[in-house]
């Protein structure tokens, strides 16, 4: 019977904490939804096709084959049909890939048909963006399937020296596929895609936890009140916290970054590393301010603890860390823009994988700075409300 009284007390106490109840029942639903969308479909590959000369006659057939593949979306490229110079075409295709309008472009030249007619394999050119290994392999998969059918449908010239058996063998001869990577190469691994975003994630995760818990303790223990009674401004306290955490977060960033660069075994320039450090620093400042905000919003340590999965879990799914956000419904794609890690990851990949300068990510950096300003302002307002007027 006494156990029942204990149970009744536990039930009563938990049911009075609405925030805990909401967390307890809603969190699994939200996470299951995210997992569902994350792994529901195979990766969709956006593919464009460029044909020139007599190869144009086979474009429709090739496109039809590709369209039957549900994991492929055909994209119309903004490349003029008049353009035939291979060099210019090469440049234009790369431009389309760099702009992210398409993941892979298949280029069939007249040359390919000529080679084929001469009894050779014939070379197809496949351009891929290359920085996203899952997307790249989806492009390869779709193109390989379509190529088999294309080879069978191409005309062959049979001269007197070639028997029907010979013609059969030419027809079934697979074409050669020459791959052109905009970023990376054949050795580029899936892990190389993920590693550059891990430092930002870890720094965000641990800075958030550390600042939430430490500041919560400062508040509950009453030392924050003592600081505010002393001739110290609220902003001086916050600035002190930022500087204090900065040391640890910086050390952590250095350790994580150095270790990951060793793992990736890529060659990084100093410029890349410094640009990467700027992204990590901004990420840390967002996490720090978010942590302080969470500690002010929480009434107790338990509630402070709940903020950790609340802030971290959705970002694992939606911030382009492992799963491509383009596979999620539009609603989640919009939500993902509201997460700081989405922007930190975009900048980190642009710098580390594509080797672009920091200035190329100015928009992402600006958004991260905006996050810092907004969270800091909200945090200050909440802090004043909580600690100045009780």
């Amino acid at each position: 019977m006494r156990s029942i009284w204990v149970a009744a007390r536990v039930i009563r106490e938990i049911s009075r904490d609405r925030r805990t109840l909401a967390f307890f029942f809603l969190a699994p639903i939200i996470i299951m939804t995210l997992v569902y969308y994350a792994i529901k479909d195979d990766q969709i590959a956006k593919i464009g096709v460029v044909t020139r000369g007599a190869a144009r006659f086979f474009e429709m057939e090739f496109l039809n084959t590709l369209e039957n593949d549900k994991d492929v979306r055909i994209v119309n490229l903004s490349i003029s049909d008049e353009e035939t110079d291979p060099q210019t075409l090469n440049r234009m295709i790369r431009k389309e890939l760099a702009a992210g309008r398409v993941d892979g472009v298949l280029y069939m030249s007249e040359q390919m048909l000529n080679e084929r007619f001469a009894g050779n394999e014939g070379t197809l050119h496949l351009y891929v963006e290359g920085s996203k290994p899952i997307v790249t392999s989806a492009v390869f998969g779709a193109i390989a399937d379509a190529m088999d059918e294309l080879a069978a449908s191409l005309p062959v010239v049979i001269d007197s020296s070639c028997s029907s058996l010979c013609a059969e063998s030419v027809n079934n001869k697979p074409m050669e596929l020459k791959k052109h990577y905009l970023y990376g190469d054949d050795d580029y691994r899936t892990v190389d895609f993920f590693l550059p975003v891990l430092p930002a994630f870890f720094v965000f995760f641990f800075t958030f936890i550390l600042s939430t818990i430490t500041f919560q303790r400062e508040r509950l223990r009453g030392t924050l009140e003592r600081l505010l009674v002393a001739p110290v401004g609220f902003y001086q306290v916050i600035a002190g916290y930022v500087m204090g955490f900065f040391i640890f977060a910086s050390l952590q960033s250095i350790i994580v970054v150095v270790y990951i660069l060793k793992l990736i075994q890529f060659q990084f320039t100093w410029r890349q590393t410094m640009a990467f450090a700027v992204v990590i620093l901004l990420t840390m400042l967002v996490a720090l301010n978010l942590g302080l905000l969470a500690s002010f919003l929480a009434h107790n340590e338990f509630q402070a603890l709940q903020f950790i999965p609340l802030v971290i879990l959705p970002q694992i799914f939606l911030a382009d860390i492992i799963w491509d956000i383009n596979g999620f419904p539009m609603f989640f794609q919009i939500i993902s823009k509201l997460f700081p890690l989405t922007h930190a990851n975009a900048a980190a990949r642009d710098i580390m994988i594509r080797g672009n300068p920091l200035s190329n990510s100015w928009m992402e950096l600006l958004i991260l700075a905006g996050f810092i300003a907004i969270v800091f302002t909200v945090m200050s307002l909440v802090a004043h409300k909580k600690d100045k007027s009780i």
Partner: protein
């Protein structure tokens, strides 16, 4: 702080102070002047408004109406006023992972003390709070009484002119209680004004002047002996009960 500053006519003055939180009025028009160099007791039951008054005096919150001034005319929110106040809260608001000296150093620096005078002052404070031999010990390793003494030390390390103590002896054993009072009496003798909130009648005996507060209003004000004779009780406890609940309840 200049040594030549004239002695202010009071260290704390509340003039018709009202503090409301929504519909609830916690302080209902309190006027009070503490001239300084005395131990002043704010005596009242739980929820009577003592802590709210302390929070207004320390500049954590502002009164809804009325004026709080310190040291002869300073606004409690001003840096000048804040640097002359020492505050010892009821809970153990010190850093458990720092040593006694590190805590004293931190609070001294926060109050803007120079390193050399601070070092000398820390030695003095360690003598006052009798923790000189445990100076480098982390607070987490000290007993509750020692931590409370360290807390007192952090409140007086910057030589405040006004020391505010919120229930300083709550949950403290009799030996430490006597020690704390001896320390306070000594500080008062050296010129520090001390304001203590308490709901223990026995504490109020030791004050030079006591104010009874109930439901946000002052109901009696004077030296302990004077209050006993005024309200006709045998001791301060009865005087307090009579003052707060009327004579009938005292007879019970």
């Amino acid at each position: 702080m200049s040594a030549a500053a004239p002695t202010p006519e009071y260290i704390l003055k509340l003039d018709s102070v009202v503090k409301s939180f929504g519909d609830f009025t916690a302080i209902k028009g309190v006027s009070l002047t503490i001239p300084g160099k005395m131990i002043f007791g704010l005596l009242g039951p739980n929820g009577s408004g003592k802590t709210t008054m302390l929070r207004m005096i320390t500049g954590l919150i502002s009164p809804t109406s009325g004026v709080v001034t310190l040291m002869g005319g300073l606004n409690p929110f001003s840096t000048e006023a804040k640097s002359q106040i020492g505050y010892m809260p009821q809970n153990l608001a010190v850093y458990q992972n720092l040593s006694v000296v590190e805590n004293l150093q931190f609070f001294g620096r926060i109050y803007g003390m120079e390193e050399k005078p601070l070092k000398e002052r820390i030695d003095e404070v360690l003598e006052i709070i009798e923790l000189a031999d445990r100076r480098n010990e982390t607070l987490a390793n000290l007993s509750g009484g020692m931590v409370r003494r360290a807390l007192l030390g952090t409140a007086l390390v910057h030589r405040p002119k006004l020391l505010l103590l919120d229930e300083p002896t709550a949950g403290v054993d009799p030996v430490l209680r006597i020690k704390i009072w001896d320390t306070l009496r000594k500080l008062c003798g050296e010129g520090t004004g001390i304001l203590i909130t308490t709901h223990h009648i026995s504490e109020a005996y030791r004050c030079d002047r006591v104010v009874f507060i109930r439901a946000g209003s002052i109901i009696a004000d004077g030296p302990p002996a004077q209050l006993i004779s005024k309200y006709g009780g045998r001791d301060l406890e009865e005087a307090f009960v009579v003052a707060t609940h009327g004579e009938e309840s005292a007879a019970l």
